[in-house]
């Protein structure tokens, strides 16, 4: 240890290094702050009195503190309905997606299926070529009759082929000896999958599960296409409505019998955004490592 230290001390630090270090620190810190700033601005706006916001504009600290936006939001039944839909879709959708993905990925990973190559291509081809928006829309809405059903938010996007291949590759990397020893003890394929393979795959399953959960929570496209009933709209779809229709909040509150002159329509939009990202921001620091490990598996190792 001491020799290394002495050795390092002998090397002259080039003059530009300090400047470079300072530049890197500043750049990274500025980027990080810029990533945070819009959220703070939105949070501040959601706690500002509507009149003050109209007068002073958006500021990083509420010029006049008010919880009126949140009070209005929680007075309407819409936000509770939407929360329920979002939670249902995220929880049930993630569970079903994870199950269907695993049931596809495990057999393909075993290397003992005669038709594995053909089935792999069957799935891979869907990543290369798509029927596109219109035929999919016709199928789901007209022929499957899934319009205004909560399942349309889950079933048509149940399996992501990319996630399937990620999981398959992970399963293949598990040493075959593990399954082999269980087979000698008389276990069948299904027992091996549930008792041996899945328990040692929890980090990979957590990663894929989080990918799915985030995709479900943030999805508004399905609702935009197929959901007209307001009680079936997830939170993200409500936000899209607010963006498309400036009077959406007024109409929503009008239905609840709130006088339209008293409606904090701008700040309640921000409050909705805050309520929507709330769960993500709370959970995100704890699950971040799964996402980072997931993307590394996906792109470096493949």
């Amino acid at each position: 240890m001491t020799t290394i230290k002495q050795h390092k001390a002998k090397i002259k630090v080039p003059a530009g290094d300090k400047a470079l270090t300072i530049f890197c620190y500043s750049f990274v810190i500025i980027f990080a702050i810029l990533c945070l700033v819009p959220f703070i601005l939105g949070l501040s706006a959601s706690f500002t009195a509507e009149v003050a916001l109209a007068k002073n504009g958006y500021q990083f600290w509420p010029s006049e503190f008010s919880t009126a936006a949140y009070e209005l939001l929680f007075k309407t039944s819409q936000i509770f309905d939407s929360y329920k839909v979002s939670i249902f879709v995220t929880v049930v959708g993630t569970a079903l997606s994870l199950l269907a993905t695993t049931l596809l990925a495990y057999p393909l990973s075993t290397g003992k299926l005669k038709y594995a190559g053909k089935l792999n291509f069957f799935i891979y081809f869907t990543m290369l070529f798509t029927g596109g928006l219109v035929p999919t829309y016709m199928l789901v809405s007209r022929y499957l009759g899934m319009k205004d059903s909560i399942w349309v938010l889950i079933i048509p996007i149940l399996i992501n082929p990319w996630n399937m291949f990620l999981l398959r590759n992970f399963f293949s990397s598990i040493p075959g000896s593990l399954a082999e020893s269980a087979r000698i003890d008389g276990a069948n394929d299904i027992t091996i999958m549930f008792r041996i393979i899945l328990p040692v795959s929890t980090p990979a399953l957590a990663t894929i599960g989080l990918f799915y959960a985030l995709a479900y929570w943030n999805n508004w496209f399905q609702a935009l296409m197929y959901i007209d009933k307001s009680e079936l709209k997830p939170l993200q779809a409500i936000i899209i409505e607010m963006l498309r229709n400036a009077d959406f909040m007024k109409q929503m509150a009008g239905q609840m019998g709130v006088q339209s002159t008293q409606i904090p329509s701008i700040t309640s939009k921000m409050a909705t955004a805050m309520v929507t990202i709330g769960p993500i921001v709370l959970v995100y620091p704890f699950v971040q490592k799964y996402f980072t490990s997931g993307i590394m598996v996906g792109s470096v190792k493949g």
Partner: protein, 322 residues
């Protein structure tokens, strides 16, 4: 690796010997549990591919796909008709140009961030900045659009009022000219931190001995970045770029529709194939023509994705996911 390959080959030879029934008899359970997943792809991926025949039909919503009359290439005529030709050229042009800008700037910022994160030696600073820079990736474009309003709105928006105080008056939601810049900034803001993770993984995997050797030779940090880090990152950069180029015909619907919605004042700068097809479908109910545009996109998209995957596999055999 080679012994694994050998056993795999052996297995393949053994498998060739038996037929379909023996295979089902032997691995029936494994095939059975795949049924839901395979049905999913059959229904939601392959049937819509068949639905592309709508592009050649005089599609009627009452008659449906099986009852509508065919009328050849009629739906493609409008692509060349006066008035629509300009629109089609515009959305295709916007799709390619915006994706090109996204690829260039996202790559530059992701790589730069990865290198700079690596230069940040303070552990806490590194962790906090990295965590924050990935945060926007976790938020939907719908929420981002609302947050963007806080900056760009004509009345009270932080950026527009600041600019107005400096004497620059831009009405962001009715002036298309700044929008390509805004979209690029938003793309970098949302995705560069997340995109950097791949490069960070490569950088942290570099043998420290290489840097030490360079240090002994008196290399500055800048020289080490230029002559060691970037050359080592190059294969990853090429690969990631290749995959993005493969998707160049697909506009980012979630982003563009999320940020612009149906604001026709901004279409000249921000309308892409995907948003155009969506509008033709939902607002004009023009099924045949919107499918025709979709079909052209799918075919061009297929050529690009296929070529990109082929090139990637040639360039970096380990990278192919399939």
């Amino acid at each position: 690796m080679s012994t694994k390959q050998a056993t795999l080959n052996q297995r393949a030879i053994q498998q060739k010997k038996h037929g379909f029934l023996t295979e089902i008899n032997k691995n029936g359970m494994l095939y059975l549990i795949m049924v839901p997943g395979l049905l999913f792809f059959l229904i939601f991926s392959y049937i819509p591919m068949g639905g592309l025949v709508m592009a050649f039909q005089d599609f009627n919503i009452i008659k449906g796909i099986f009852g509508s009359d065919f009328f050849g290439l009629g739906n493609f005529k409008f692509l060349f008709a006066d008035g629509t030709r300009e629109t089609v050229l515009r959305v295709v042009g916007n799709t390619l140009w915006l994706n090109f800008l996204f690829i260039v700037f996202s790559t530059i910022f992701s790589v730069a961030l990865a290198i700079m994160f690596n230069e940040v030696r303070n552990k806490h600073a590194k962790r906090i900045t990295q965590t924050l820079s990935i945060l926007p990736y976790f938020v939907s474009w719908a929420v981002i659009a609302l947050l963007l309003e806080a900056f760009l709105k004509a009345d009270g928006g932080l950026l527009s009022t600041t600019l107005a105080n400096m004497g620059i008056n831009i009405s962001f939601y009715s002036d298309p000219s700044p929008w390509q810049l805004i979209l690029v900034i938003m793309k970098v803001w949302q995705g560069a931190g997340y995109g950097a993770i791949v490069y960070i993984a490569t950088v942290t995997g570099i043998d420290p001995g290489i840097y030490e050797a360079a240090e002994i030779d008196g290399a500055s940090r800048w020289q080490k970045i230029i002559h060691i880090t970037i050359p080592i990152l190059r294969p990853t950069i090429v690969l990631m770029t290749l995959f993005s180029v493969g998707r160049i015909f697909y506009g980012d619907f979630g982003m563009i529709y999320g940020l612009v919605q149906d604001n026709s004042l901004l279409f000249s700068a921000a309308d892409v194939i995907d948003t155009y097809v969506y509008r033709m479908l939902r607002q004009l109910h023009n099924y045949g023509m919107s499918t025709a545009v979709g079909l052209i996109q799918s075919v061009c998209g297929f050529v690009f994705v296929y070529a990109a995957n082929k090139l990637a596999r040639k360039y970096e055999p380990d990278s192919a996911i399939f």
